[in-house]
């Protein structure tokens, strides 16, 4: 069966905007993603090495800000939802397919290393920048937060800045 075409980007944008408004109206906070990775990391570390985490400032500050188990977190639930939603959407549009995607001039090995490193950089950067493209840039833009807009410009500006050096990965 043929893969279905993607949604019109402007329509998708309007729907995403409306979802974000609803999220802010109901919960008082925006959407996010990287925060869930953080919660999982803290959760795993607290289980694997409880003695270690009780001494480190990062984990102490985290449990100071978030009461209860790190996995009983708004973003963890939201991200589980994202996974389910994307899976359902892929199912409906015939896009479920186990594969490694890479550019025409790239190789699987390069793609694997690139994905791992890119993930690492993004995970690290999102901690430093207090949020990723969803939590800081998009949600920050909705409430016109200065920091959110700075992060947004830095993410996209940075990507354009470095894009030339990694062109062989993609085109």
């Amino acid at each position: 069966m043929e893969e279905k075409k993607y949604m019109n980007p402007y329509l998708a944008g309007v729907l995403l905007g409306l979802l974000l408004i609803a999220t802010i109206y109901i919960t008082g906070r925006g959407l996010g993603a990287s925060g869930a990775v953080k919660s999982f990391t803290v959760g795993i570390m607290e289980t694997v090495a409880p003695e270690h985490t009780s001494n480190q400032t990062f984990y102490k500050e985290y449990s100071g800000d978030h009461a209860g188990s790190p996995l009983m977190n708004w973003l963890v639930f939201e991200v589980v939802g994202v996974f389910i939603g994307a899976f359902l959407s892929g199912l409906i549009s015939n896009r479920l397919n186990l594969k490694l995607e890479y550019g025409p001039r790239s190789k699987p090995k390069i793609r694997i290393v690139g994905a791992l490193l890119g993930g690492l950089l993004f995970g690290f950067g999102a901690q430093l920048g207090r949020g990723c493209t969803s939590g800081s840039a998009l949600s920050g833009m909705a409430v016109l937060s200065t920091g959110g807009l700075i992060t947004m410009m830095a993410i996209f500006g940075g990507a354009y800045l470095f894009a030339y050096f990694f062109r062989k990965f993609w085109i």
Binding site: Y6, P9, Y10, A12, G13, L15, L16, G17, L18, L19, L20, A22, I24, Y25, I26, T27, R29, G30, L31, S34, A36, V37, T41, T57, F58, F77, E78, V82, F83, I84, G85, A86, F87, L88, S89, L96, K99, R111, I112, A115, G119, L120, L121, F122, G123, F124, G125, L128, G129, G135, S136, A142, V143, S145, G147, I150, T151, I155, G158, F162
Partner: protein
């Protein structure tokens, strides 16, 4: 008034809400094509600008939506999460994320979408992001200085730029529309498509019109505080506005009687309130009227809310704003506290009463002027209106 958490939607229900919102989020991202790295990085090489279209449209719609909710008094922005601004960590963190974007081809949200439909590269990206968080966590003492430097607080961009919110919103919408036009031209050039980027088809005309209306809405949705303050700056309007009033004598009588239906809302500056205030009165400010929690006391049933300030004109201004905000039972004290001080507290016992009514008033005021000062001394007032709700913790 929003946010609905935690009053209307409890904290447990909020997790279910999160799951449902997440499902919608996932469906939209996947349907938009964010589940493939080729489409995502197209933005940086000029062959596919889907990300910018979706992202910018969503940002503009949400921004105008939030402004509208605030304008119509449906959202207390003081309780809403505003991403805090830490200049250096925002900039450097953003640049690192930008690098991660072109190297890895995803961002965290999109990597989850792509992994859900079976993209192996996305699963590896997610694994990488765990390592990235772990490095930050373990090396936190090294990064803490940078992480916490230049804290500007929950500042909003129009304040940073010294602009009105609506003006900024208009410019941002205009920039977005212009960007949509430009990227279509670039995209066609890169992909070798000869067709003009925009044609006058019903589709593009409708799209342009919606964008134009959105940008104009920025001017209609002025900040509520500003427009109400504007409204009460017209002297004639304020003086002729029909408001419930209470005479100083009735007010004094109710205080002496200890009437628990009487709720005194004191709008004087806090310093004056602290020096001397009426028994049972609550200090209130202009801003409190717009806030979710403080304004609750104005909605208590069967209470007579008497707005007091030094003069009646100010009382009228506050009461009109309260009326406009939907607090219908605002009553003002005739003549303001000035008059109350003169006629009751400092009642001149040498004044001559001729009619029966005047002599009644004379007797009452003589009595009141000796009782109320004692009550003021003895009774503790409620103090500033309570505000326990805090801003929602959000972000990543």
């Amino acid at each position: 008034m929003g946010p609905l958490v935690p009053d209307v939607v409890g904290n447990e229900l909020n997790f279910i809400v999160a799951l449902i919102i997440g499902i919608f989020f996932g469906v939209i991202l996947e349907q938009a094509g964010f589940s493939t790295s080729k489409k995502l990085v197209g933005l940086f090489y000029g062959y596919d600008f889907t990300v910018l279209r979706v992202f910018f449209t969503a940002g503009i719609v949400a921004m105008i939506g939030v402004i509208a909710l605030e304008h119509f008094g449906l959202l207390d922005i003081n309780l809403t999460y505003i991403n805090p601004t830490f200049l250096w960590s925002a900039l450097i963190g953003g640049l690192i994320m930008g690098l991660g974007f072109v190297v890895g081809g995803f961002c965290p949200g999109t990597s989850i979408c792509a992994a859900a439909i079976g993209k192996i590269d996305a699963m590896i990206f997610i694994a990488g992001s765990f390592i990235g968080v772990l490095i930050f966590a373990e090396g936190y003492p090294l990064f803490e200085g940078l992480y916490k430097a230049e804290n500007w607080g929950n500042i909003r961009v129009f304040d940073s730029l010294g602009m009105q919110q609506t003006v900024f919103a208009f410019f941002l919408t205009a920039i977005a529309l212009f960007a949509f036009w430009m990227i279509s031209i670039i995209e066609n050039k890169v992909n070798g498509i000869k067709k003009p980027a925009f044609r006058f088809t019903p589709y593009y005309v409708t799209l342009g019109a919606i964008g134009f209306i959105l940008s104009l809405s920025a001017f209609v949705l002025t900040e509520r505080k500003d427009s109400l303050q504007n409204l009460v700056s017209d002297k004639e309007f304020v003086n002729n506005y029909d408001l419930k009033t209470m005479s100083v004598d009735e007010f004094a009588y109710r205080i002496i009687k200890g009437d628990n239906k009487l709720q005194i809302i004191d709008f004087r500056p806090l310093e004056e309130y602290k020096k001397q205030s009426l028994p049972g009165s609550t200090a209130f400010t202009f801003d409190n009227l717009f806030e979710k929690e403080p304004s609750k006391i104005l909605r208590i049933r069967h209470k007579t809310n008497v707005f007091v300030a030094n003069n009646e004109y100010e009382e009228r201004q506050f009461a009109i704003i309260a009326n406009r905000l939907g607090f219908s039972n605002a009553t003002i004290l005739t003549g303001g506290l000035e008059s109350f001080d003169k006629e009751i507290l400092g009642f001149d016992k040498n004044s001559v009463a001729t009619t029966k009514q005047e002599s009644d008033t004379y007797r009452f005021r003589t009595k009141a002027s000796s009782i109320i000062p004692v009550l003021i001394k003895e009774n503790k007032s409620a103090g500033p209106v309570k505000k326990t709700q805090k801003r929602v913790v959000g972000g990543c």
